[in-house]
Each structure stands twice: as C-alpha cells, then as structure tokens.
C-alpha cells in the first residue's frame, strides 16, 4: 500500500488558535494549531457528517458548530453527545516549516 507524508501547508501560515482545511488523497482535513501543537483531523463530524472546520478550538479539542459534539484533536475521540463515534485523525509532522500529514491511499478497488 502506498503511503507517505504529504506536504500541505507552511506551519507559519496557521497562527495559534487558527485552522486551515487542506485536501490530501481526496480527503478534506482540518489542520488545527492549539497551544504550540498542530493536529490533523478529518473535516467530517462523526455525528451527522457535517464539516468541523468552523468549530471552536479549545485546549486540545474542536467543537462541531452544528450540534456541539467535541472531539479530542490528538485521538479524534468523541468527548460529548450527540457524538459517540470518533473522528479520523492523521499523523502529522513538521519538516523545514512545512506541515506534512500521512494519509494512507485507498487500496485500488477490487484489489
């Protein structure tokens, strides 16, 4: 299976408390900057599949603006109702000021 880190955005482009939506392998991902840490979380709430991108960032969480479910940025774990299922998160690293995320390419269909 092919998977390698993909460069998505310069870390300097996302101020503390900010976020940016990027697309890798056809997947929309929110890069969040909280307390000197960067996180990569799918832009799709596990509750009713709405985008998370405009959600409030707290100390290590994002709150879905639609019905208020919060998710841990590091693990994607749901912290409160109405969500119970986790949101997908992606490994992230910073190389020469670039944020890189690891998204496993979907296996070829039928393969």
């Amino acid at each position: 299976m092919s998977s390698s880190y993909a460069r998505v955005v310069k870390s300097t482009e996302i101020p503390s408390g900010g976020r940016k939506v990027v697309e890798v392998e056809g997947k929309a991902i929110v890069i969040c900057h909280v307390n000197n840490n960067f996180y990569a979380i799918a832009n799709r709430c596990s509750h009713a599949e709405r985008p998370l991108e405009r959600g409030r960032l707290g100390q290590g969480w994002i709150a879905c603006p639609f019905h208020g479910a919060r998710f841990e940025l590091a693990t994607g774990k749901a912290m409160n109702l109405p969500a119970t299922e986790p949101v997908v998160t992606y490994p992230l690293r910073i190389v020469e000021d670039w944020i890189e995320v690891l998204v496993e390419a979907a296996p070829p269909s039928g393969g």
Binding site: N35, H47, C64, F66, G68
Partner: protein, 464 residues
Amino acid sequence: MSTDTLDKGQARCPGAPSTQDIIAADKVTAPGWVRSESYQFLGDADIPKNRYIDPAFAKLEFETLWKKTWQFACREEHIPNVGDYHVYDLGPYSFIITRVTDTEIRAYYNACLHRGTKLRASGTEGSTDEFRCSFHGWSWNLDGSHKETVCHWDFPHVKSKDFALPQARVETLGGFVFINMDAKAPSLAEYLGPEALAHIKAWKLENRYVYLHVAKRLPCNWKLAIEAFQEAYHVIETHPQVAPSNGDANSQYDVYGEHVDRFISTLGVVSPHLYGKISEQDILNQFTLGDSSALGDTKLTVKDGGSARAVMAEMFRGMFEKATNTDLSKVSDSELLDCFSYTVFPNTFLFPGISLPMVYRFRPDPRDHRKCLYEVLFLRPVPVDGSRPMPAEAIRLEDHQSFKEAAGMDPGFGGILDQDTDNLVLQQEGLEASAKNGLTLGNYQEIRIRHFEQTVDKYVGRKA
C-alpha cells in the same frame, strides 16, 4: 474583664489584637474596603439540621432558592467572541450562555421548543452561528429568534415570533457572567447592595484570567461545603500546620445586606492559640518553609523590634512585582498578604487578595442531596502586554483523589483543601446520626454561617 458582661456578639478573642489593629500597623495603608467593619448579631438559636439531610429540603431549594438568585455562570473570557457559548448547569437546570454581540451576552434555557431535547450537552462549550437541535433539526439564530422548523407545512400552528428561545437574565460584573431565572429579581447591583458592590468593583477582577481550574465532587450537602469555608475558627484543629503564621481566632467577620458576607484572616501573625510559644522569627521561618525554593538562598530575618508580617509584606511585594511586571509599591501590605473571603449568595466565594486570588463555586447534585460539586479557580492578572491567555479548563478530580494531584496546584494548599473536605463526610454522616436536632454556632466567628442560612430560609419561604 469578663466577656460575659458584653452584649451578645460583642465579645472578641481576649488578649489578641484585632484584624483592624494588625492592619493599622502596616507600612502601606489599606484601602477603605479593607479598613471597615460590618458585623451584626443575628441571633443565637440552633440551625435545624434537616436542611442538610432531608431530600425534600433539597427539592424545595431547587423550586425556590435556585430559581430566584443571581449565580456565577462563567467568566466573560470563556466566551470571548460572538457565537461562543458555554453551558452552565445547576441541578436540573441548564443554560446556554452565549455572546450575541461584542457587548451582549444572553442565557438561553437549554432545551428545544419542539420536543425538549437539550440543544447542547451539559458541561460543554463551543462556537456556532445557530443553535440546531440534533433530534429533528429545528434551529434558532444566535439572538434566540426562531430560524427554521423542518417540514414547516406540518406545523402551521408554530409561529416564529412565539418560538424564540426563552432567556434567563444576565448581568456582568468584574469579568463574571451572572444569571438569574427570576424575571422579578432585583438587579445584581441591588442584590449585592451598595457597599459590597463597591468592594467588588474596587478589585477590578475583570483584569484577571483563569489560570487554574480544579473541580471535585464532595460527599456532603452543598451548604455544609460552603460553611466549611466561611469561618477561620476551624483552622487551629483542622490545619494546625498553618497556625504559626495565620491569625485565626482574631479574624474579622462582616455581613452586608442579605447576600454578601466576608472574613479577613491575617497572614504573617501568629494564631492567638499559640501566643507565648512562637517568636516573630519563628513565624517567618514557618512561613517560608513551604516555598523556600522561590526564595533561593535569601535568609529572611526579623530585625529587633520588627515584625515578621512587615518582612513578609516586602518579600511578597518584590515577588509579585517580578512575576506580574507591575508596580505594587502602593498596594497595601494587607492586600498582598491577607485572606479576604467573600460569599456572594448562594454559592460563590470571591477571594480578591493577591497571595490567594481564588474563586470557589459550589453546586448541588440534582440526584443526591448528600453530594455537591466544588470548583476552585485561581485568577491571575492578565499579562502587561494586554494579551489574554485562554482560560484554563477544569481539571476534574476523581472522588478518591487528593487536591495535590491536580497539575499546577500548590501542594501545601492542596493539602489544606484535603483537610477541609475530609471533615465533610464525617459531618454529613454525623448530622444524620446525631441525637441533637440542630447546629450550634458561635456569635462572632460563625456569623457568616448564620447569615447564609437566614438567607436560605428567606428563599425557601421558612422563618429562621
């Protein structure tokens, strides 16, 4: 002179300087709100114990007291931007505290007007531009006006103008957001009264932020938990380790109207219980022991004829000036050192002092009158560059955990809170086991408890 000949409530700790005597001897003079007294004798009958042990009394409180009083719901910094919200829960009640514009905060009853679902889960916060129900999708704008009924054709009887989210009243003071469910309640200013209001305004707590927030469930009625912090009478028995450097039996107690009371407990002076056993140098040694690392190699000494309190005031002034990069030369010794404990009825304590800048909040457990939630928030001045750090989120301790285990808690202070709260399960169970029907109170040192309970009586509609 025998103290028995005085009018009730007039006796004070014999042979000890009063709090005002101690403060009057300080180098930097204290402001008026420190240098005033407002004690009142309020009777000496026992407090009936059923209010702590009878679930019916707790139910009555939910139906009366909690629906009519001003309550601290969150700090303004918890909802800094338009659209930010914070859910405040009190027993069965729940409110979405929302910033609607830069200058307006509202408190919506947290329930959908279709079939009642909570619009936001309890204990949560976030940001949104509409409140949409997770059940069938009815939605409301930030200003509470009704936005959409899904399948409107089926609800011709639902007129938008009649379906705005109901609100509780909101007022802000010192950076605190207060709410009240009672449309007929007095304003927050009237509720506090002119004197207490002037004190609170003088502290400028709006210029602080929450840097530590710890929450723990306590195994007792909420009122017992509050009362454990309303007197310094327990200090010598419960916290003997602090007696060498804390005034206790000579603390000052004041009441202001129906909803505010306070004590002032001096630091850097020996407990009257230990008079003759402790020198001024001992006071200093005992005090600095706990925090010797912050002092490096400096050895503090009391010069002949000097006082430990004066040395400590100078040390604190230097330490806090450095830490906060501000000029404290005009801030009084008393404000730097002493413990000022105010209660705003029903469930909030404000500690405006500089050495212990805290807020306490106590909330009853809606399912168990023998349990409550205790929170302590530490407030720090906002940095001089004006930037406002994000408020700390609550660290939730398990029932068996020590306060010392909360990251960021001073271990000495965490130990004091453990001592305070360990008494409470024994007190709750003892009241239930007791052959005696009431609690007996001291006329002076326990006046805040009587004051508090008389106001409880007023709200639940019983005569004291």
